[in-house]
Structures are given as C-alpha cells and as structure tokens.
Symmetry: C2
Subunit: 200 residues, 2 copies
C-alpha cells in the first residue's frame, strides 16, 4: 500500500475496507469488469458513490486495489536460501481453492484491460509492477548467491514463463492451477531455463 493511498483512505477502517474489497471482487466474478458499475458497488456495500469516487478515484483503481488486497503479499520476504525453495514457497502461498478463484479474477481483469486503458494502467502499476519488483529481489538474491548467472537471458522472461503456466493451464488445458502443477512447472521450465539444477 503506498503512502498516498493510505492517506487518501484514512477515514475508512481496515475492516470496512476489507469488506468493501470483498464485495467488489464478488461483483467482478458475478458480472465481469465491463458490466460492473459503481452504482452496484455502492448498493452492495451500502456506501455512497461520492465516497467511493473520493476514496478510489474510479472503477479501475477500486477493482485493482481490491484484487491486490486479496493477494498474498511479500514473496520477497520469504527467504529459504535457495531459488527453488523460494519459488516453491511462492507457489504455496495460497491453497488450491484460493488460487483458482484468484486466477479466475485475474483472467477477468486481463481480458478487460485491452479495451480499458485506465484499467490497464492501474493493473500494471498496482499489480504487475509490484509483483515484478518482488520477483526481481528474489532473482537478485539467487544471482548474489551464485545460483544464477547475472547475464542469464531467461532472467528477462520470468513473468512470461509464469503467465504461460497460468494462462495455458486455465484457458487451454481447462484445468485449475494447483500447487502441484505450478511446482512441477517451476522444476521443469523455470529453473532449467535459469540454469539452476533441480535435483531434489
């Protein structure tokens, strides 16, 4: 949470904020981003639209902040001492059930960004970039430990590899992303691409 955002929402209790975000995500999964209205959010949460706009500026930021609130944070703080350990830990932050729901919500957002430039901007600034920065820290530690060479080309493609796992699993295989699947993908694709041995 940035300082600006915290200041802006200072009059809302954390409990109330969590309640609001949960309602927004319920609406998102029920009707999708394009059909989701601030009126519906106001009605569902017994808020005034003026309050919602004052606190979040608009639909895009409200939805993206709700999404971010819902995601387990702090992957960079997990330090197991090996890249394989860190990535496996990352894949285990959510149970399979939470992961399936979040993956559905992320897909709903990813679909909508193309036709909503303000959503695209919020999605990138508040969800993708912070997550990428955390990954950079995880990768930097692996480089510092000597596990990954600093000039390894796959370092540029971590997000591409992981997005491929989620997107293909859900949209083409038609299966939910599970911890088992993601850990096996890390061992089969991500670590070998980075030149890290995967001996168990």
């Amino acid at each position: 949470m940035t300082e600006v955002a915290t200041a802006r929402r200072s009059r809302i209790t954390p409990e109330r904020e969590a309640e609001l975000y949960a309602a927004v995500l319920d609406l998102l999964s029920e009707v999708g981003y394009d059909a989701l209205t601030m009126d519906a959010v106001a009605a569902r949460t017994r808020s005034s639209k003026a309050t919602l706009y004052r606190q979040w500026g608009g639909k895009a930021e409200l939805v993206v902040r709700a999404m971010r609130h819902n995601k387990p944070g702090g992957i960079a703080d997990v330090d197991t001492g090996s890249l394989r350990g860190d990535l496996h830990e990352f894949m285990s932050r959510e149970d399979d059930c939470a992961m399936e729901r979040n993956s559905d919500l992320m897909r709903a957002l990813a679909m909508a960004v193309h036709s909503n430039p303000d959503l695209m901007r919020a999605f990138r600034e508040l969800l993708i970039e912070p997550e990428m920065n955390e990954f950079q820290r995880v990768m930097q530690r692996a480089v510092d430990r000597g596990e990954v060479r600093a000039d390894r080309p796959a370092l540029e493609y971590i997000v591409h590899m992981l997005v491929g796992a989620f997107a293909t699993r859900t949209m083409i295989d038609g299966l939910p992303p599970t911890q088992d699947f993601l850990r096996s993908y890390v061992d089969a694709v991500v670590l070998p691409a980075l030149g890290v041995p995967t001996t168990t």
Copy 2:
C-alpha cells in the same frame, strides 16, 4: 482441413471461401466475438444465412475455421535438422505485421472462449490440437535425433512456454510479438528448458 469439412463445403470455390474467411476476420477484429452476428457476416459477404449455417454449422466453427485458414500451416513439414532451426523457422513463418494481427485475433478468441463453450470446443479441436500435434512431431524428431531426452519434463510444457511469450508480450509488456522477440525467447527459455545447447 478434414474430409468431412471439405465435403460439406464442396460447392464453394476456394477463392470464395478465402473471401468469406477474410470478411469474418475483419468483423471479428472490428466488433469482437460476442457482438459478431451471422447476420453481419451474411450482409458483409452477400451470402444467405442459410448457406452459412449449412456450410459451417454455426458462428463458432465459422470463426475458428476462418482463423485457421489465415494461419500459416505445416510447421511439422519444416525440417531443418535441428530443433533450434525448426523453432526459429516456426517463428519466422509470418512477418511481424501478420503476426501482430493474428495475435490480436487469437487474443479476441481466447477471451471469448470462457463464456462460449461451443467456441471453446471448436478452438481446441480445430486450432490448438492440430498445432499441438504438429509440435509433437517436431519434438519427436528432436528426441529421435538425440537432441532432447524423451523423459525431459519440459516436453509437456511447450505450449505453456509459448503461450506465455505471446500473452505476456501483448498484454503485459504492451508490445507486439516480433520475430526477434520470439527467437530470443526460444533461445533464452524453450531450448534451455529442454536441455538443448543454444550456442550460435
């Protein structure tokens, strides 16, 4: 093209078929899958709706066949003698301009499959599975040549790796997939994951 499909459309000349498919793809990029109607296709192509339904069964199959018609085929027939050569050749089948348009169209379809089960079925049977079968042949040749071990875990994730490259590049990086980008991704991710040296 299956025998059944060829028989079903035998009264249409290949030129007329190509013209129809081009019109369908234009409409798809203009209005998206959900807003695309058989009425609009009929009007744009000066066909009767009855003809369209008789020849293609419905919107899902018509759109997917149009998409397939538009894609360069026969990747398995390209045999350069090395997996790296075959994959680079695959990434060069279309020029950057055609690749960007096809990638936009594929994204439009991929977004719509979730809420259209018949589109999902046609998309999988007519686009994904044939392409995956071709990749299997390319990979099998690499295994037969001794380039890739038959039990290499990444063999199961070829599609995941490639979809990640396309999806992340267009939706998160906000950049078009280019031949240069895709070849560099093949060298950085796909070949190392498969244990193939990428010395140039």
